[in-house]
C-alpha cells in the first residue's frame, strides 16, 4: 500500500512541480506582497507589513470604478450569454438544415484569437464605417460613438463579450441536449405539451448540470475579463479609462506603475470575490 502510493506520487511529480512553481508559489507571494508597504521587487525591501495597500486600493477611484465595471460586466454578460446560447443550442439541436455549418459558425469565436476578434469588432463598432451603425441606421437610429464615448464603452464591451462567450456555452449545451432521450420529447408530444412547457419541464431540467457549469465557468472568466478590453481598444481601457476592469487595473498597476503591493492587494480582492461566489454557487447547486 505504502509503496503503491509512493509510486503514484512519483507519477504526479511533474505536474505537481509545475503547479507549485507557477500557481501555488505566485499565489502565496501575491498574498504576502499585498501586505508589504512601499515594496521594491528588485531589492526585496519594504517599509512595513500592514493593510496600507488595501487602504490605498479602496481610496483609488480607478479601482472602485474597475470593481463597478467588472460587476456590471459579469451581471450582464453571464446571464445574457447563457440565455442566448440556450436558445441557439435548442434551435441547432432541432432538425434544421445545414446544422453542421451553423455549429461551426457559432463555435468559431472559441478557436479564434481574442486579439483578432477584437480587431474585427473594433471595426464593427466603428462609428463612421462600422457594420453595427449601418444596421442601426436602417431603423433610423443615429450613429452611436460605440468605442469613443465613455458612456458607450462598457455596453460595447458587454455586447462583444456576450457574442464571444456564447461559443463555449453553445457547445456544452449542445452536448447536454444530446443526452436527453428523444422519447421524452415524443412522450411530451403525445401528452399535448405546449412548446414553452417542453422547454422548461424537459429541456432545462435535462441540461441543468450544464447550465450550472456554464454559470460557474462564466462567472469566473467574466471576473477575469482583460483580453477583451485590451483587444477592443488596442491596449487601452476605453476612452478615459471608462471600460477599466479589475484585471486590467492589476495589470496596469503592476507593469505600468510598478506598484506591486497595490496590484497584489487588488489581485487578492479579486481572488476572494471569485472564491466566495464559487462557494455560494456550489452550495446552491448541492441544495438542488
Amino acid at each position: 500500500m505504502e509503496k503503491k502510493s509512493m509510486k503514484g506520487y512519483i507519477y504526479l511529480m511533474p505536474a505537481l512541480i509545475v503547479i507549485l512553481l507557477f500557481t501555488a508559489y505566485p499565489l502565496i507571494r501575491a498574498f504576502l506582497m499585498s501586505f508589504y508597504e512601499d515594496y521594491n521587487m528588485i531589492s526585496g525591501e519594504y517599509s512595513r507589513i500592514g493593510l496600507g495597500n488595501y487602504k490605498d486600493l479602496f481610496g483609488d477611484k480607478d479601482f472602485t470604478k474597475a470593481l463597478r465595471n467588472t460587476s456590471i460586466y459579469v451581471v450582464f454578460v453571464v446571464p445574457c450569454s447563457i440565455a442566448l446560447s440556450l436558445l441557439i443550442a435548442v434551435l441547432l439541436n432541432s432538425n434544421i438544415k445545414c446544422q453542421g455549418l451553423f455549429q461551426t459558425i457559432f463555435f468559431l469565436p472559441y478557436v479564434t484569437s481574442v486579439i483578432a476578434i477584437g480587431l474585427v469588432w473594433s471595426w464593427i463598432f466603428n462609428s463612421n464605417y462600422g457594420l453595427l451603425n449601418i444596421i442601426l441606421s436602417w431603423f433610423g437610429i443615429d450613429k452611436v460613438q460605440w468605442l469613443n464615448k465613455p458612456k458607450y464603452a462598457l455596453p460595447s464591451l458587454i455586447i462583444f463579450s456576450v457574442w464571444k462567450s456564447m461559443a463555449f456555452d453553445i457547445l456544452i449545451f449542445l452536448a447536454g441536449l444530446q443526452t436527453i432521450p428523444k422519447d421524452l420529447y415524443n412522450a411530451s408530444r403525445v401528452d399535448s405539451t405546449p412548446r414553452w412547457r417542453v422547454f422548461w419541464k424537459i429541456t432545462v431540467p435535462g441540461i441543468a448540470p450544464m447550465i450550472s457549469y456554464a454559470f460557474i465557468m462564466g462567472f469566473i472568466s467574466a471576473f477575469k475579463v482583460y483580453n477583451e478590453v485590451f483587444s477592443l481598444w488596442g491596449g487601452k481601457a476605453g476612452p478615459a479609462n471608462s471600460a477599466i476592469t479589475v484585471v486590467y487595473y492589476i495589470y496596469d498597476k503592476f507593469y505600468n506603475s510598478h506598484n506591486y503591493g497595490l496590484a497584489s492587494a487588488a489581485a487578492v480582492i479579486l481572488f476572494l470575490i471569485i472564491l466566495v461566489l464559487t462557494i455560494v454557487q456550489r452550495m446552491m447547486g448541492r441544495k438542488k
Binding site: 432521450p181 412522450a187 411530451s188 401528452d191 399535448s192 419541464k201 435535462g206
Partner: protein, 347 residues
C-alpha cells in the same frame, strides 16, 4: 373505437419498413403486433401514434381519417419501450402532466391521477421520482400517464422487454386486466410470441413489413397460414422437414408418417409441433439421442434418417438416452406447405 389501417406503407428510400398494410382492429380489442426485430411492427405503432408519417395509405380511428392528424390531437395514450417518464417530476406530476397540458384544473387533475394510480396499483408511491421505482413500477406509471387523459386508443411499444422473467408474466396479466377494466382499444408491439398469444384478442404477425396473418391466437397457432408463422409461434419451435408424397402417403426419409391424404405427389415442406407426436404401438421406431427433463414435459431428440426432431412428451414417461421407442404424429397435426411456404392444410 375501432381502427382501420388501409394500404399503409412506410418507405425509407427503396426499403419498405411497412408494405401495404391492411388491418381492422375492433373496438375494445387488445391486438398484438408480433414479429422479429426490423419487421416494421414498431414503425406501424409510431405511425398509429402520429410520431412517424406514412409514405402512403390511411389510418382511420372510427370514421375519422387521422393520417395527417398530429399526435397531440389523436386521443391516444402511448407507452414507450423505456417508459420515457419525465425524470425530474414525481410519479404524481408525471401522471398529472397530460391533464395539466389540457388545462384541467389542478385539483381535478390530482384527483384523476390518484384514481389512475389506484387502477394500476401505484398508490403510496405518488411522491417518488421515477428513478426510485423498480422497472415494473415505472411501467405502471407509464400506463397510468397514458390512460389518465382517457384516450380512445392505447399503444404500447415492447411494454415488457425491460422487465425480468417473473415480472414480465405478472405485468402482462396486469396490462390485460387494466385493458379489460378500461375497455380501451389497445395495440401492443412485441417480439415475444408467448407474450402475444397469452394476452391478445388477436395477433398480427409481421415479417419484412408485411402482415403474414391476422388471427385469434389459438387459430393462428393451430392453423398458421405459412411456414414463417408456424415457425415464429411456439416454443420449442415447430419441427420442419422435407417430405415425399406418393399416392396419398407422406414419407419422411422413407418412413411412412401418414397415409390416405389428398395431396398431389411431390416434395413438400412439412411441420409438426413438438407436442404433436405421441408414443404408440404402431408407428416409426426411433432412438432417443438426447433427453431433457423440463418439469411438466420431457424434451426428447431423435432422428428419422438425417432429419432431427424435437418432441415433448409427458414427464412421467420413462425414456432415457439411447432407448428405442415408437412414435406417430397425432391426427391432423402434420402441416404441409407448398413451394411458396403457403399452408396446404393439416393431415
Amino acid at each position: 373505437m375501432d381502427i382501420r389501417i388501409e394500404n399503409l406503407t412506410k418507405a425509407y428510400g427503396d426499403f419498405k419498413a411497412v408494405d401495404n398494410m391492411n388491418l381492422h382492429i375492433a373496438d375494445g380489442e387488445l391486438v398484438g403486433l408480433l414479429g422479429p426485430s426490423g419487421c416494421g411492427k414498431s414503425t406501424t405503432l409510431f405511425m398509429l401514434a402520429g410520431l412517424s408519417d406514412p409514405t402512403s395509405g390511411s389510418i382511420y380511428f372510427g370514421d375519422k381519417n387521422v393520417t395527417k392528424v398530429a399526435p397531440e390531437d389523436r386521443e391516444i395514450g402511448l407507452v414507450f419501450q423505456n417508459y420515457a417518464l419525465y425524470p425530474h417530476m414525481t410519479v404524481e406530476e408525471n401522471i398529472m402532466f397530460p391533464l395539466i397540458n389540457r388545462k384541467v384544473k389542478k385539483a381535478e387533475a390530482r384527483e384523476r391521477a390518484n384514481e389512475m394510480a389506484k387502477l394500476v396499483q401505484l398508490d403510496g408511491l405518488m411522491k417518488r421520482k421515477p428513478k426510485a421505482l423498480s422497472g415494473g413500477q415505472q411501467q405502471r406509471v407509464a400506463i397510468a400517464r397514458a390512460l389518465v387523459k382517457k384516450p380512445e386508443v392505447l399503444l404500447l411499444d415492447e411494454p415488457l422487454s425491460n422487465l425480468d422473467a417473473k415480472l414480465r408474466i405478472e405485468t402482462r396479466e396486469e396490462i390485460r386486466r387494466i385493458q379489460q377494466e378500461v375497455k380501451i382499444t389497445t395495440i401492443f408491439v412485441t417480439h415475444d410470441q408467448e407474450e402475444a398469444m397469452s394476452i391478445s384478442d388477436r395477433i398480427a404477425v409481421m415479417k419484412s413489413g408485411i402482415v403474414q396473418q391476422y388471427e385469434v391466437p389459438q387459430t393462428m397457432y393451430l392453423n398458421p397460414d405459412n411456414l414463417f408463422v408456424a415457425q415464429f409461434l411456439g416454443m420449442p419451435q415447430v419441427n420442419t422437414f422435407s417430405v415425399e408424397v406418393k399416392s396419398g402417403n407422406i414419407y419422411c426419409n422413407g418412413a411412412l408418417l401418414r397415409s390416405g391424404c389428398e395431396l398431389k405427389d411431390g416434395t413438400y415442406t412439412a411441420g409438426i409441433r413438438p407436442e404433436s407426436f405421441e408414443i404408440a404401438q404402431d408407428g416409426i421406431t426411433v432412438k432417443a439421442t438426447h433427453v431433457r427433463m423440463t418439469g411438466r414435459d420431457l424434451l426428447i431428440h431423435f432422428s428419422i434418417g438425417d432429419t432431427e426432431f424435437r418432441i415433448l412428451v409427458h414427464s412421467d414417461l420413462s425414456i432415457k438416452e439411447g432407448d428405442e421407442f415408437t412414435i406417430r404424429a397425432r391426427k391432423n397435426q402434420i402441416m404441409i406447405f407448398d413451394a411458396d411456404e403457403k399452408s396446404l392444410g393439416k393431415f
